[in-house]
């Protein structure tokens, strides 16, 4: 385990930038925090998860699939330099692990892995959450993790690449191990148990259709819940045609849209807001556990933060548990 003091950060990242393209938590001019290019704003490691999903580094909102120019088919090239992405909270890392599995399953998604392979993923934890709240250490799921102790960062490498990056840093004090262990033993998270209870209710078929009608009535179909969710992987595909060129691209899609499931003949198995809202929650809390062995909501809270009408997954789960639990 290594140690980084705040005054060492600039040099640390400058060294990394010689090999990798940096994506770091930064503060944008209006106070929004994102994981972005350090050219766009000062480093902002404190404050917890950023609102935009960190997995966008590998799966951007829109990206080229191929271009066919006068019959010449070209796929987009891999990045000139691999990415170094810092800013995944432990929950975000769980999301990334989940979509890594998803995109690798069956026909491997080469567009995703073109960005993902060779990238360094760095977690962020410790007492750097909102207002200094503790983010328990991830203990894995990444190449290295930065843990804010209160006055310095503990740096824990997990992969070969991670160990290489931190090799030159000074060693952490002996007490660090105990500190990390203490931070790991935490009381159960309220939202986590809420999501688990909601999942149980759905799987026991205890939630009536009328509930989904009520929730659906409050959905304005902004699609923000899907677009902010780090484990949402659905995408749409479009072709842009000009005289001799076709450009195929894909973009984040949303199961809250009618067109998401509408068939060519017009029939839609998810033809109402109630059904679509039910599906969105059901997919994360009931279908994915069956297919992937785990609930695919890792309690990051982004859908609740972006939803203009207060029907993110926590809010819905809370109502569900209060009424049917």
């Amino acid at each position: 385990m290594k140690l980084l003091t705040p005054d060492m950060l600039d040099q640390f990242f400058a060294t990394i930038a010689q090999t990798w393209e940096l994506r770091l938590p930064i503060l944008l001019p209006d106070g929004t925090r994102v994981i972005g290019s350090p050219d766009d704003g000062p480093l902002a490691l404190h404050g917890g998860a950023v609102l935009s999903k960190p997995t966008a580094a590998f799966f951007p909102q829109q990206g080229t699939v191929f271009t066919a120019d006068n019959g010449d088919l070209q796929e987009p090239p891999p990045p000139e330099r691999p990415l170094f992405v810092l800013g995944f909270t432990p929950r975000d890392l769980a999301c990334l692990r989940f979509i890594d599995r998803f995109f690798a399953d069956g026909l491997c998604d080469d567009i995703y892995f073109r960005q993902r392979r060779g990238a360094i993923v760095a977690g962020l934890s410790g007492y750097c959450g909102p207002n200094g709240a503790l983010l328990p250490p991830a203990g894995g799921d990444c190449d290295l993790e930065l843990f804010w102790e209160g006055s310095f960062w503990l740096v824990i490498p997990y992969s070969e690449a991670g160990r290489g990056i931190v090799a030159e840093l000074p060693s952490a004090p002996r007490s660090a191990g105990k500190l990390l262990k203490e931070a790991s033993s935490r009381p159960p998270d309220e939202n986590e148990s809420l999501i688990q209870r909601a999942s149980d209710l759905l799987r026991a078929d205890r939630v009536p259709d009328s509930f989904w009608e009520e929730i659906g009535d409050r959905c304005i179909a902004c699609t923000g819940c899907n677009l902010a969710c780090p484990t949402c992987t659905c995408f749409g595909v479009q072709d842009w045609r000009s005289a001799k060129k076709v450009e195929r691209s894909r973009m984040w899609d949303s199961c809250q849209l009618d067109g998401f499931m509408r068939e060519a003949g017009g029939h839609n198995p998810l033809g109402s807001e109630a059904l679509r809202t039910r599906r969105r929650i059901h997919h994360k809390l009931a279908a994915d556990p069956q297919k992937w062995g785990e609930i695919s909501c890792f309690v990051c809270g982004r859908c609740d933060a972006v939803c203009p009408t207060g029907i993110g997954i926590f809010a819905v789960a809370r109502e569900m548990v209060a009424r049917f639990g």
Partner: protein, 681 residues
């Protein structure tokens, strides 16, 4: 532009004014991220906002000027195209007079661009013939509220929606057309705010309302008079407010005295009890807010509707406090700014009248011209008639698509095709641009700098994220170049920031606006000087005009009512997923997939009578024209009324609408005309 970059900017769709960061990678947009700190959007966006980057690099973008040669639009150089525009405009003006030319500005363009086109029309080409699509949406508001309150803008702020005890939404489908405001209303209702929705479509807000009033199309004056009758009859009016802050109350009381609940019920199709309940509910609120939009304004009596809305707020003392107010929701991202900048035939920026010699003197001096025209120019909606009567030979249209947005499409096409000169400056070859003699390719919102003013009068910075395609240029650059070529040296600016400095010097309400003050969340006008913090709520101590004025009105019926030949009322509007004529949204995959074709909503009773099922192909006919469209059988509409959005060129609602205008605001009656619906074999 190498590498990844984030650019803070303003959404180009509705007037709510949400902000987000455009994310670009090596000069191409790859997505966007909401601003988490913005006081309006608060980390959220609507579906159009989330997809607002997606049309920018579309291969249909115009990349070079086009000149019609041998009947075909052919690529040309900027020098050729701009010189030709100036030469032809000058020639037409020489032969037919300065007012033979009309300029259409754009509520999609920035404040600076609207100001500059206004200046170009007046200072360089010597005509007040300048207008923009505010004529089609809130001209009734500008007229009606100026008369009653003194300022034709939303009185309150978007944050006020969280503070109201009761909200009356009349003629606004807020969750679809101003989604981040509509969502505030939904949240307010969950927190205990009472909601009255007056709109005969069963819009989303209606599902959450305490009262849903499904009154007949065009009966708003009757409804509001009836509500005011009950309030006065039951002594629920705010007498202190009326006595200290208003004038002409006696005339209002007399005008509504006859509007008993029974008479109102007969005129509106409602139950008397509904009118009484609405009056009591609204009058009982400590903070009562009225929200309205096109359902109020787009009538041949749109100004009268607005007068009634203002009167109801005055009667109940609901102006000049947080959580209250008369709140017209402006449609376009910068329609408020387009009006503020004087892209209107009768005023300079800041609503300073062209007919006022002192104002003319001020602008003559500042712009360095010999004189300026004194009589108001043509409103956009009257320009079409003027052209067909031979009084107008040329139109210069920046970023508007009247072929789809104007009423009576056949008439509009006929006029545009027969102009001696049609110049269109736009980002795509719209249906209107396709008819042009000269087409000028413009940069879109993501490719230029400037400011937009949202519906709550918040002036915000727009920033350039990527380069425009090909040779396309920002509207402001094109306008300044035209001025230069026309021999006018007074439009040389280093950038839009310098244009804003000039605007601030000449426009009292924008006096304190400058780019260095607009970060991060803009300023709300009136902002008269550099130390002024901006104004979230208007009319606090006194109205802009002094006292609030009750302007009683007489109920008038819409110009065209159903009869045996055309038995249904057609009302038009927009869908959530498309924006106006679809120039941008129909080139955005997810939005176009969601709403891919023209449709008409009709009630199951009407559908059964005509023998129509969902998704049948229909022929809809009015006295102006006919269109094919798809049936959407739904209880969203009431029996006898059908609804069509106007986005679709194939099945254009405005081939049917009635080009009858409000006599004062010249707004067309988009909300009521008579049609016949038949099933196609």
């Amino acid at each position: 532009m190498r590498g990844m970059k984030r650019t803070l900017t303003v959404c180009p769709y509705c007037g709510t004014g949400c902000t987000f960061y455009l994310v670009s990678d090596n000069g191409r947009l790859v997505g966007l991220e909401p601003s988490t700190t913005h006081p309006v959007s608060r980390g959220g966006l609507c579906v159009k906002g989330w997809n607002a980057f997606a049309f920018v690099h579309h291969p249909d973008r115009l990349t070079t000027p086009l000149i019609r040669r041998d009947g075909v639009l052919q690529p040309a150089s900027w020098d050729e195209a701009l010189d030709l525009v100036v030469e032809k405009l000058r020639d037409i003006q020489k032969r037919h007079g300065a007012d033979a030319v009309m300029f259409a500005s754009s509520a999609k363009a920035t404040n600076e661009e609207n100001y500059l086109l206004m200046k170009l029309a007046r200072a360089v080409f010597g005509t007040n013939n300048i207008d923009h699509c505010a004529r089609l949406c809130h001209s009734s508001t500008v007229t009606g509220l100026a008369e009653t309150l003194g300022s034709g803008a939303m009185t309150n702020s978007i944050s006020c929606f969280d503070q109201a005890d009761a909200i009356l939404v009349i003629g606004s489908n807020t969750t679809e057309q101003h989604p981040l405001i509509g969502s505030r209303i939904l949240n307010a209702v969950r927190n205990g705010t009472r909601l009255i929705v007056a709109d005969n479509r069963r819009i989303r807000l209606a599902r959450h309302a305490d009262l849903h009033l499904r009154h007949k199309n065009g009966s708003d004056v009757a409804l509001l008079n009836g509500i005011m009758h009950v309030i006065i009859a039951e002594g629920l009016e705010d007498r202190t407010f009326i006595a200290t802050r208003t004038e002409n109350f006696a005339a209002l009381a007399e005008a509504v005295a006859d509007w008993s609940p029974e008479r109102t019920a007969a005129a509106t199709g409602l139950e008397a009890g509904e009118i009484i309940a609405a009056a009591r509910l609204f009058a009982a609120a400590e903070r009562g807010m009225i929200v309205y939009s096109m359902g109020i304004t787009q009538h041949s009596h749109g100004v009268d509707n607005v007068r009634c809305v203002a009167a109801l707020a005055l009667l109940t003392g609901n102006v000049g406090r947080p959580g209250t107010g008369v709140n017209p929701l402006r449609g376009q991202n910068n329609v408020q700014g387009g009006c503020d900048m004087g892209a209107l035939p009768d005023v300079y920026s800041g609503y300073q009248k062209v007919s006022d010699p002192l104002m003319r003197e001020k602008f003559v001096g500042s712009w360095g011209v010999a004189d300026l025209p004194a009589s108001p120019g043509l409103p956009l909606t009257r320009a079409m008639d003027a052209a067909s009567a031979g009084h107008l030979q040329a139109m210069f249209i920046m970023g508007e698509n009247p072929m789809l947005s104007d009423p009576d499409q056949g008439h509009a096409r006929n006029v545009l095709e027969n102009l001696e000169l049609l110049v269109v400056q736009d980002i795509f070859l719209t249906e209107t641009a396709a008819l042009a003699d000269i087409v000028l390719p413009a940069a879109c919102y993501a490719e230029k700098e400037g400011t937009f003013t949202n519906t709550e009068r918040r002036v915000q910075r727009l920033r350039k994220a990527v380069e425009p395609p090909g040779e396309a240029r920002a509207d402001w650059e094109i306008i300044c170049d035209l001025a230069e070529r026309a021999g006018y040296g007074g439009m040389r600016y280093a950038g839009p920031g310098e244009v804003m400095e000039e605007i601030a010097r000449l426009t009292p309400s924008y006096g304190g606006i400058s780019y260095d003050r607009l970060d991060p969340h803009g300023l709300q006008w009136p902002c008269p000087d550099r130390d002024h913090p901006g104004t979230p709520v208007l009319h606090l101590e006194r109205f802009t005009r002094g006292l609030g004025r009750f302007s009683p009105v007489v109920h008038r019926l819409p110009a065209e009512l159903p009869d045996d030949r055309y038995p249904l009322v057609l009302t038009t509007g927009r869908s959530y997923f498309h924006w106006h004529t679809g120039t941008m949204t129909r080139r955005t995959h997810l939005l176009e997939r969601e709403e891919p074709c023209s449709f008409i909503e009709l009630h199951p009773d009407d559908a059964a009578r005509i023998g129509v099922r969902n998704r049948d192909q229909l022929l809809v006919t009015s006295r102006r024209g006919e269109v094919r469209t798809e049936a959407r059988v739904t209880t969203m509409v009431i029996p006898g009324v059908v609804f069509m959005p106007f986005h679709f060129v194939e099945g254009a609602a405005n081939a049917l609408t009635n080009n009858v205008l409000d006599p004062e605001s010249s707004i067309p009656e988009f909300k009521v005309c008579a049609v016949r619906v038949e099933k196609l074999p």
